[in-house]
């Protein structure tokens, strides 16, 4: 008996910035909490530097839907130049979690957001530069996502555990820890508008 009790998340980034990895970490975090999840990339050839999209579904019960996500509840933007893509199809009461050097107010005006949509902004790229040393804001923006959703989709602890699970086999322990630092900083610094 399928239940439609899941949320849908879309992530915008550029090839090489880890948008797909971010969606895998989200799905893994759901698993850590005993929830159900799906993670999938924009189905197509991956090209370094080109805009790419990744998706996730998270919920308390089995997720049997096998179709694209066109009306996400949450949109996470990990590259500041792609923020204009965030509003496409987003639910009326959706949330956008974006990396930007701009203030929340400035970005809100720029995107002409309707009242129902919450915008959360943090300079994830700056945090990534200061922690990881590379302009890869995928993990930082997941920290901001957890704050923006009040830990109700996944908790900060689950996110940190999932980051270790997913990045552990790929990166050095030091690099994983830097990503966790980025997560915590973005969690603290993200602003709502």
């Amino acid at each position: 008996m399928p239940k439609k009790d899941f949320v849908e998340i879309r992530i915008h980034g550029r090839g090489g910035q880890g948008a797909w990895t971010a969606s895998i970490i989200l799905a893994e975090a759901a698993l850590v909490e005993g929830k159900y999840s799906q993670s999938f990339p924009e189905f197509g050839p991956e090209r370094s530097g080109a805009p790419v999209t990744a998706y996730a579904r998270i919920g308390p019960s089995r997720i049997d839907i096998h179709a694209g996500i066109t009306n996400p509840d949450y949109v996470i933007v990990i590259d500041p130049t792609l923020v204009h893509m965030a509003t496409k199809g987003i639910k009326e009461n959706g949330k956008i979690i974006a990396t930007s050097a701009k203030s929340v107010e400035e970005l809100r005006n720029e995107l002409k957001l309707s009242d129902g949509i919450e915008l959360w902004v943090v300079d994830g790229v700056k945090i990534a530069m200061e922690t990881i040393g590379r302009a890869i804001a995928n993990t930082a923006m997941l920290g901001a996502f957890v704050k923006a959703t009040d830990g109700k989709i996944i908790s900060l602890d689950s996110l940190i555990q999932a980051t270790k699970n997913v990045l552990g086999p790929r990166l050095s322990e030091e690099a994983v820890n830097k990503n966790i630092e980025a997560i915590k900083r973005a969690y603290e610094e993200v602003k709502k508008g």
Partner: protein, 412 residues
Amino acid sequence: MVEEQEERLLNGDEATAWAAYHVEPDVVAAYPITPQTIIVERFSEFVADGLVRTEFVSVESEHSAMSACVGAAAAGGRAFTATAANGLQLMNEILYIASSLRLPIVMAVANRAVSGPINIHCDHTDAMNVRDAGWVMLFCEDAQEVYDTVIQAFKIAENPNVLLPVIVSFDGFLISHTAQKVKVFKDPSVVREKFLGGPRKPAKIKLMGQEVELSLNPKNPVPVTFGPLDLYDYYFEHKRQQSLAMQNAYNVVKEVHEEYARLSGRRYGDGVTVPYKLDDAEIAVVAMGSAPGTMRYVIDEMREEGIKIGLLRLRLFRPFPYRDIMEKLKHVKVVGVFDRAQDQGMMGGPLFIETRAALYELESRPKVVNYVFGLGGRDTPPEMFREAFDELVGISKGTVKPFIRKYLGVRE
């Protein structure tokens, strides 16, 4: 007793690689092709990490991949490969040879549209193109089922009453690249030893008064050959035996599914078909692959509105379960068959034609119509299925004129 398992986040390709890891075939020969590539990548990591002792053969084409599997299986080994789309088409010649030599090879197919135009996304045209090649064919709905089915496939293939190769299909990208929670056995020996009974044991046959192993085993007291010239004297008898083996596969699929369920705690209908809310249904939809998952949401929605609609998912496509279709759909008024495959020059999609033919045997037949959908990875949202299901309701009420075939989600 259900064996201990662990939860992992795996996509359909990774789930296939994990199944192959737990089976530990003697030989894996494969050539990469999207969307199957992750299977071969992950499995080669398992080999490199020393988790399996499999002979991993990197070949130069799919034709060679299947040929290497034929050699390995003829030598008595357990052989596995994976492919998709054009790769499967390139194998075609050897597919018929593998089945006629009665070699229990297992192959995963991440279903993808066949070129041209070039398209890497999901439809079932690749698998439908080889539906007459004498392989047992199973279609999975999600990554968990892929893991379970790849393991089951070896036991089905190696059953002495079957001895046929098996294709395990799952939707490219929609399943192959979508990660989900998958339970895998904690101890691979549950699969290798307990379920499969250790290494493959080739069937024994009587030859020139002696019992020999049906393999190219040099220790055989009488040498066995595979694939010699076989003209009008015996070819037909061998084809007849192959047909019988395919018939036998039907029960074996069910038995193996049940035996595996006792270890895993997971069942997919009876292993052949997976009905959903069909018992009192007046309208039924028939489909394979991942679409039935999405369809169940639509069926629930319509059930809440009081519409008696149900679903029959075919897990087994070859041998075609026509008796199950007759039995499960005999009481409904309208059947909509959903084909995710090309239908050019045909009366409809392959699933439609065979479903309709099965239902012809009934004294009182439902109306059967066809929808071709999702070609080349065209999205399959619930709203699209709702539109078609509403049309089926209209046919049952007499407000919509019945048709033979329609295309769903296409710009006309």
